[in-house]
């Protein structure tokens, strides 16, 4: 019995490993194809750089890329944290006072339909070209997925659990702390994961419109000087940063919720 379970377990794991393997191979094939196409069709570097061009750009510009990354990470990180705090406060208020939810929730959803790319220049006009407007853009794009997921998490708490807490004599605060909060933790983390990728993107959009430093301004500069392979190098950094942030959140979530089997 035990043994057959072991075998099944291993089989399952090996399938998972194989899946990873397949995706790596797919990417490799695409990269090789890309290399060939740029080589055989003689595509100029400023139109589409080959993978080797991009790698050499990455190596050549690694110091400056690092410097710009630091600014972007800083803006995205601060914005992300502020967004989390705001989102939690608003979500909790909306959960405790129904009136708030009824009046605020539709507004929240509507605000999301305003394209950030239209809003960002306005924020720049108001706040200048420093880090602040970038942080604000990040807060705006991250706030929504986090607050919505927490509101939904809090709203779907098992009513039976709330009932039994009350019967055991728990006060409102205890019910919140011991049931509502842990219950909505998984959906909070689901929202965090979405917001994490948004945060890097938000910072870059902000920088795009004008900044002293940051991957966004680096990208606009490379474009205006037709250093396309540098642009691609920056894109790769953005992807890596987003994935790293995503993985960190996943890891924290697993540590915080060992009972959650969906992670």
């Amino acid at each position: 019995m035990k043994r057959s379970e072991d075998i099944e377990d291993r089989l399952f794991k090996s399938i998972k490993i194989k899946e990873k393997y397949v995706s790596v191979v797919t990417i490799l094939i695409l990269v090789i194809l890309w290399q060939w196409i740029t080589y055989f069709l003689r595509i100029p570097e400023y139109i589409l750089p080959s993978p080797t061009d991009i790698v050499s750009s990455l190596i050549r510009s690694k110091d400056i890329l690092w410097l710009h990354s630091l600014t972007t990470i800083y803006e995205a990180g601060i914005g992300f944290i502020i967004a989390i705090i705001f989102a939690l406060v608003i979500a909790i208020i909306m959960n405790q006072w129904k009136l708030f939810k009824v009046s605020l929730y539709p507004l929240l959803v509507i605000s999301q339909t305003i394209p950030i790319i239209a809003l960002a220049p306005l924020i720049m006009i108001w706040m200048g070209f420093g880090s602040l407007p970038k942080v604000v853009v990040v807060v705006i794009v991250c706030f929504f997925p986090i607050s919505v997921s927490v509101v939904e998490g809090l709203a779907t708490v098992d009513k039976d659990l709330l009932d039994i807490m009350e019967i055991m004599g728990a006060n409102k605060f205890q019910v919140f702390l011991k049931v509502k909060l842990p219950y909505s933790l998984p959906s909070f983390f689901a929202g965090l994961k979405i917001a994490a990728t948004y945060s890097i993107m938000g910072a870059i959009i902000g920088e795009w419109l004008g900044a002293k430093r940051g991957l966004g301004i680096f990208m606009t500069r490379t474009m205006s000087s037709f250093k396309t392979s540098d642009l691609f190098a920056a894109i790769i950094i953005v992807v890596l940063l987003s994935i790293a942030l995503f993985k960190i959140i996943e890891w924290v979530g697993r540590k915080l919720m060992p009972w959650n089997r969906e992670l």
Partner: protein, 250 residues
């Protein structure tokens, strides 16, 4: 002496849209101090609903419902209620789940542990303190839920099929243990069950309910002396009670 639980001519209808479901009809149940009373009836007849009214989970009913002589709307007493679903919290391990009532009372972590650790072996939960509910068997979860209920520290117990998920042997052990603490702490217990033998073995009185809408078909007094011993299940009186109950439930 005042009744611990007093229900007189209680009626309950659920209404959803235009569908009306009559569940309880003229239900009168009393539980005196120190008594062990069972409620037995077919599945879906409204047994759990009786407890939901008593615990104010379900609101709106006809009739009179009192706990400790005070109508439940004004009564704020804690009740040792064990729901039919175990309702353990998936994010708490077994020990922390069981400790919730003590936590709510503001008892410190160390004292909580001390108190609960003594009880774990009796409940067959020793060595699983750190396990999460999904790692426990159905029977263990039920025992954990029962232990949690006991720790609520109320003199009134409302137990909704607490042993339904247990095998015959641990069921029998838990029954004996329940009678033990019930006697020791002078609880007054209302006990819902499907199991005729269990009801006879444990109870002073048994209310037999009909199919929905539930009325009380009979109230049977069980005249066995206490403490109860397992051998009594083999006596002809016991079999007589059993026959009568099965007849009533048909």
């Amino acid at each position: 002496m005042v009744e611990k639980v007093y229900m007189a001519n209680v009626n309950k209808t659920f209404q959803e849209d235009d569908k009306i479901l009559k569940v309880l009809k003229d239900i009168s149940i009393t539980l005196n101090a120190g008594e062990f009373v069972s409620i037995i009836g077919p599945s879906g007849c409204g047994k759990s609903t009786i407890f939901h009214i008593l615990t104010k989970i379900v609101k709106g009913y006809g009739g009179i419902v009192k706990i400790d002589g005070v109508s439940i709307e004004k009564q704020n007493k804690k009740i040792g209620y064990m729901p039919q679903k175990d309702l353990l919290m998936p994010w708490r391990n077994l020990l922390d789940n069981v400790c919730i009532p003590l936590e709510i009372q503001g008892i410190r972590g160390k004292d909580r542990k001390k108190r609960v650790e003594k009880l774990l072996p009796i409940f067959g939960l020793e060595g699983f303190e750190k396990s999460y509910p999904y790692q426990l068997s159905g029977g263990m979860r039920q025992r954990a839920a029962l232990l949690r209920t006991i720790l609520i520290d109320s003199d009134i117990l409302l137990l909704d099929e607490p042993f339904a998920a247990l095998d015959a042997i641990s069921r029998s052990n838990m029954q004996e243990w329940l009678l033990d603490i019930w006697q020791k702490f002078k609880h007054s217990a209302l006990f819902i069950t499907h199991d005729v033998e269990e009801a006879i073995y444990l109870s002073d009185r048994i209310y037999v309910l009909s199919h929905r809408p539930a009325i009380i078909v009979d109230e049977i007094k069980i005249d066995f002396p206490r403490p109860r011993i397992k051998e009594m299940t083999l006596t002809s009186e016991f079999i007589g009670y059993k026959k009568r109950l099965i007849e009533l439930l048909r």
